[in-house]
Amino acid sequence: MKHYLLSIYQPDGTPPPPEFLDPIMQKVNALMDEMKGAGAWVFGGGLFGPETATVVRATGNDVLMTDGPYIEGKEHVGGFTVVRAPDLDAALGWARKFAMIIAPLAIEVRPFQHGDGMES
């Protein structure tokens, strides 16, 4: 089995109001339950906004920390899910279900270098 990272990209700025988001989150949670039931869900969750990010970078013996996201853009990763799947089509199948719920937000699917066990 392989592992895939499903990253959800969303636009910067104020998120939509709860009356818009709540029904969507209910469907997302139902999908997570479906993934868990199928043995596909590994880990994941929603993230606070990019303004809460801190970037750490070492140069020589100095470690520099900066407030804010690594890349400033119009969009950021709002959350992610790691799934276990036999191949890309199976991972894309989960991504497709996810994308239908959170349309028009985009999901990027990327394979992990290692499969089960998640060794280095």
Binding site: D87, L88, D89, L92, P111, Q113
Partner: protein
């Protein structure tokens, strides 16, 4: 079999059997590069051996068996990691000759992998020509007018993505199949079109690409007998290709449909295309390729240009616009419209389209303007067509038309 095959025989068998052998080896080893290298090794052995020994009965099976042994040898040599060695041993103990059905399925699996939507379009085309057609990187680069290193990199990247992202080697299940098959047919159609009307270079037609596209379409029609669009695509390609000898004169200049010597049309290809169309009609699930093939079949039926059933062609274009709307279909429809209702309504349709980069848009506009006696505008449109034409033969044709406008 004469027993003394020339290199040309090996070349022919290579063209026919390469994709089959690579597809079987990929299933056996799960490694595209290994499969390609092994099959190429096997053909090198064949080229050295067959002139002396003669072509063995069942050359495809011979190539596959030889390639498999080569691949196992290679895995053993490179077996620094225990698992690879174990894999080679496991494969050694398998039975040898693959079943025909399984082989067919392997080629089908492979083309669905090559045309997977997770791969960018040009990579799909390059992979299909490379793995199923056995074209070299240099040949594909030449055919699509890209630098060889660019194309080589495109192939390396696509193969790495297939491996790393685990793009499956599988015919999609029924739910996904229609959409995925459309992508496969589109790749084959694109290969044919590039061959039929080259987007660059000196010549109008690249026969090698046309032949490869027809080979692939034939394979799809055989392996997916229940799908009318696969049959429709093959019919479309055969009917279009039937006019090849008449489309270009001895000097390599374009001969338009109206002026073609219809005695040069290949009646065998026409008959095969029409037989496929009859099968499609029985299935009765029309789609874009079947409708385009039906349009070509109407042309093939006409003994003269004047005798063409343009009303039927116009009706088919109307149908095509319903299932596959787009400016290119609308432009072709306008040509039929001009024959049925005259150049003015056709020109009005054309001018509603916006295809400034497409030479045929300007060329068709120029012709309609000429027929309306609006010569200055026709010359300007002809100039725009010349400026956007891709290959030298098309430019020469348009320049001749431009001269005729002024005479």
């Amino acid at each position: 079999m004469t027993g003394r095959p020339a290199a040309a025989d090996v070349e022919r068998i290579f063209r026919e059997e390469y994709g089959r052998a690579v597809a079987v080896l990929i299933r056996a080893f799960g490694d595209i590069d290994l499969a390609e290298d092994a099959v190429q090794d096997a053909f090198t052995v064949a080229l050295a051996r067959w002139p002396a020994t003669g072509v063995p009965p069942g050359p495809a099976g011979w190539i596959i068996t030889t390639a498999r042994n080569r691949a196992i040898d290679r895995l053993r040599r490179e077996a620094t990691r225990g698992e690879r060695h174990a894999e080679a041993i496991r494969l050694l103990s398998r039975d040898e000759a693959p079943e025909e059905d399984a082989v067919g399925d392997d080629r089908l699996r492979l083309i669905f992998t090559c045309c997977h939507p997770a791969l960018v379009g040009p990579a799909q085309v390059a992979l299909t020509l490379r793995l199923l057609g056995g074209l070299t990187t240099a040949e594909i680069a030449r055919a699509f007018l890209v630098a060889e290193p660019t194309l080589a990199q495109r192939l390396v990247r696509a193969k790495a993505k297939i491996r790393d992202a685990a793009i499956p080697y599988r015919v999609p299940d029924a739910g996904e199949l229609p959409q995925r098959l459309r992508a496969v047919l589109a790749v084959v159609y694109l290969i044919f079109n590039e061959g039929y009307s080259a987007s660059g270079g000196d010549r109008l037609v690249r026969e090698d690409l046309c032949a490869e596209a027809i080979r692939l379409a034939r394979m799809l029609a055989e392996l997916m007998p229940g799908d009318p669009e696969a049959k429709g695509l093959l019919a479309l390609l055969l009917l279009s290709d039937s006019r090849r000898a008449a489309r270009v004169d001895g000097a390599g200049d374009i001969v338009p449909l109206a002026e073609q010597d219809r005695a040069l049309w290949d009646q065998d290809l026409i008959a095969e295309g029409q037989a496929l169309m009859r099968q499609c009609l029985r299935i009765n699930r029309p789609g874009p390729y079947q409708i385009q093939a039906a349009i070509q079949a109407v042309h093939a039926d006409a003994r003269t240009y004047a005798g063409t059933d343009w009303a039927q062609i116009l009706q088919l274009y109307d149908q095509l616009l319903m299932v596959a709307p787009g400016p290119f279909v609308a432009l072709n429809r306008a040509v039929a419209l001009a024959e049925v209702r005259g150049p003015l309504p056709a020109l009005q349709e054309v001018e509603r389209l916006h295809l400034p980069q497409y030479h045929l848009y300007h060329a068709i506009r120029a012709d309609l303007l000429r027929r309306l006696g609006r010569i200055d505008e026709a010359v300007a449109a002809c100039d725009a067509a010349i400026a956007t034409a891709g290959n030298a033969a098309e430019r020469r044709f348009l320049e001749r038309r431009r001269q005729e406008l002024r005479s």
